[in-house]
């Protein structure tokens, strides 16, 4: 379809057009913006999701009273849809009566309201915050599961050999959970890269296209105009990027065990 003139509202006129869709897309300045945004979006989302998720998993990796309830309360964003998360944060980021501005002003961090979603300098930051909030739970769940499967006798043996807390983490825990880390980060990058729902709910790419990533740009082509030809061209470009990334990532980490959770 990427090579066809394919518009949903003009289906009698579907025809082969060669690389024209690719040309059109690549010439669109919005596309370059979306490509750059995608990189920011994936990198910062993943970085903070992983870091905070790992910290949370480590904190929860001990039996204590009320852990089950606490886990549920900390992990629940994973059960929400990206679209609703977008709506919830849209309300909180509201520049006039949004609660985020109010809290920051009360805490004395800022003096005047920030247009988190209406100011192009802030909008990308805001959607990433919402995405991080959403994704911490995924890493925390997966990493907690991996941590709990580390046999405790490994720690005992390490302690007898005189390992302190830090070396125990870097020499026992880390290698043991490495396959999970590799698989989850790989999958997560792909999902973050592909999933436009949070952006769709929060800003729908605005203001002025400043928060479009490739997938929301593609979605925009479909929803506003039903231009499946161009959308497919974007899709093909995305798949190529993901394939290159996957090959690079797998050879860099030398992992053959991906797919084993």
């Amino acid at each position: 379809m990427a090579f066809q003139d394919y518009k949903l509202f003009d289906l009698s006129n579907v025809r082969f057009v060669g690389f024209k869709n690719f040309e059109d897309v690549l010439k669109d300045p919005k596309f370059i913006g979306a490509l750059v945004n995608s990189l920011y979006w994936v990198f910062f989302s993943l970085f903070f999701q992983f870091l905070l998720g790992l910290a949370l998993a480590l904190l929860l990796n001990k039996a204590f009273r009320g852990r089950g309830v606490l886990q549920g309360l900390l992990f629940y964003p994973w059960a929400l849809s990206g679209f609703l998360i977008g709506l919830i944060w849209k309300w909180m980021f509201n520049s006039q009566i949004g609660v985020v501005n109010d809290l920051l002003m009360k805490a004395g961090i800022i003096d005047e309201r920030i247009g988190f979603l209406s100011d192009p300098n802030w909008s990308m930051f805001s959607v990433i915050v919402a995405n991080v909030w959403y994704g911490i739970a995924f890493f925390a769940i997966m990493l907690l599961a991996a941590l709990q499967s580390v046999p405790s006798d490994l720690y005992e043996a390490a302690e007898m050999d005189g390992a302190n807390k830090f070396t125990r983490f870097s020499n026992v825990t880390l290698p043991y959970i490495m396959p999970t880390v590799i698989t989850t980060t790989l999958l997560r990058v792909i999902w973050i890269f592909n999933d436009p729902t949070i952006i769709y709910g929060l800003t729908n790419g605005g203001p002025a296209g400043s928060t479009h990533i490739l997938s929301s740009f593609m979605l925009d082509k479909i929803i506003n105009g039903g231009d499946y030809g161009s959308a497919s061209a974007v899709g093909v470009i995305m798949i190529v990027i993901l394939l290159l990334y996957t090959i690079f990532y797998l050879s860099a980490t030398k992992s053959e065990k991906v797919g084993d959770f």
Binding site: M1, Y6, L8, L11, L52, L59, V69, L70, Q71, G72, L73, L74, F75, Y76, P77, W78, A79, L80, S81, G82, F83, L84, I85, L87, I88, W91, M92, I97, V99, D102, W133, I136, I141, M142, L144, A145, A146, Q148, S149, L187, I190, W191, N194, D195, T197, Y200, G201, S215, M218, L219, I222, Y228, S232, G235, I239, L242, T246, G259, D260, F261
Partner: protein
């Protein structure tokens, strides 16, 4: 002394996390319980001063919200059940048998995770309209089922591999057929895994937006996300009704998730330990 400071630091950071994680949910609930004028008044009130359910009443009045809920429940449950039935059998075969193309099947399952789902919506739309399934609940059930089978199968395969083959062999010796061994012995042992897969599938179906937007636009067939989506366009300013709708769409999944998360972590642990 040093240890206790560390302990306090841990507690404080956990507390901060907790606030960060829970506040958005708290805030949307509080908003939904405020009267219209209080929602937009300044300074912001951090709890509802005049508690009211008018937003909930009005959302059922201005839309067919009960029908959306019923549609979502029906579609999400049915599809999750079908996914389980198919993935269980598929995962069993992938876990227990070696055959030509075994690896290719697994790889193709992983590849399906790489494609943005909505890229295939246009051809599927054509297919569905040829089958006269546009604007039916069946179309969504079929779509959701198909899209969830690969991931569910991979997860369930992990659970199967955790269960020793000897358990089945013992059952066979006692006179079970392969299928009755699966049904009577293996599946009961796997219940936590099956439960968490079901809840995973249910939550995905409950939340799905774009397929439903494409395939259904009849008022009486809309699912919750579709309805919320058209709310945004219609009543962008009515945050009271919006937040009431959000709370109603969010709570079933949050409730299910909190109920099941212990099993999910447990289940994933078991999946992770397989050789």
């Amino acid at each position: 002394m040093r240890l206790s400071i560390l302990g306090i630091g841990k507690k404080i950071s956990l507390l901060l996390y907790l606030v960060f994680m829970i506040f958005p949910l708290y805030w949307i609930v509080v908003t939904s319980l405020k009267p219209q004028d209080e929602i937009f008044s300044y300074p912001i009130k951090y709890w509802p001063v005049h508690l009211t359910f008018q937003n909930y009443v009005s959302i059922f009045k201005i839309s067919k919200f009960h029908i959306y809920i019923a549609n979502s429940l029906l579609i999400a449950t049915l599809s999750a059940l079908i996914v389980l039935a198919i993935s269980l059998l598929g995962a069993y075969v992938l876990a227990r048998f070696q055959f030509r193309g075994h690896k290719q099947v697994l790889i193709s399952f992983f590849l399906t995770q790489m494609l943005p789902g909505f890229i295939s919506l246009a051809p599927l739309y054509l297919l569905m309209s040829h089958l006269h399934l546009i604007n039916t609940r069946v179309s969504l059930i079929v779509m959701y089922t198909v899209s969830l089978i690969p991931f569910s199968t991979i997860i369930l395969r992990g659970f199967f591999q955790r269960i020793p083959v000897s358990l089945e062999e013992a059952a066979t010796i006692d006179g079970c057929t392969r299928f009755s061994a699966l049904w009577r012995i293996i599946i009961p042992v796997m219940l936590p895994g099956i439960g968490s897969t079901f809840i995973f599938a249910f939550i995905q179906n409950w939340n799905e937006l774009f397929t439903a937007v494409m395939f259904v636009d009849d008022e009486s067939l809309k699912t919750l996300p579709v309805a919320m989506n058209s709310f945004v366009m219609k009543f962008d300013i009515d945050w009271g009704a919006m937040s009431a709708g959000t709370v109603l769409s969010v709570f079933p999944t949050v409730f299910l998730f909190i109920l099941a998360q212990k099993f999910i972590v447990q289940g994933l642990t078991q999946g992770a330990e397989k050789g």
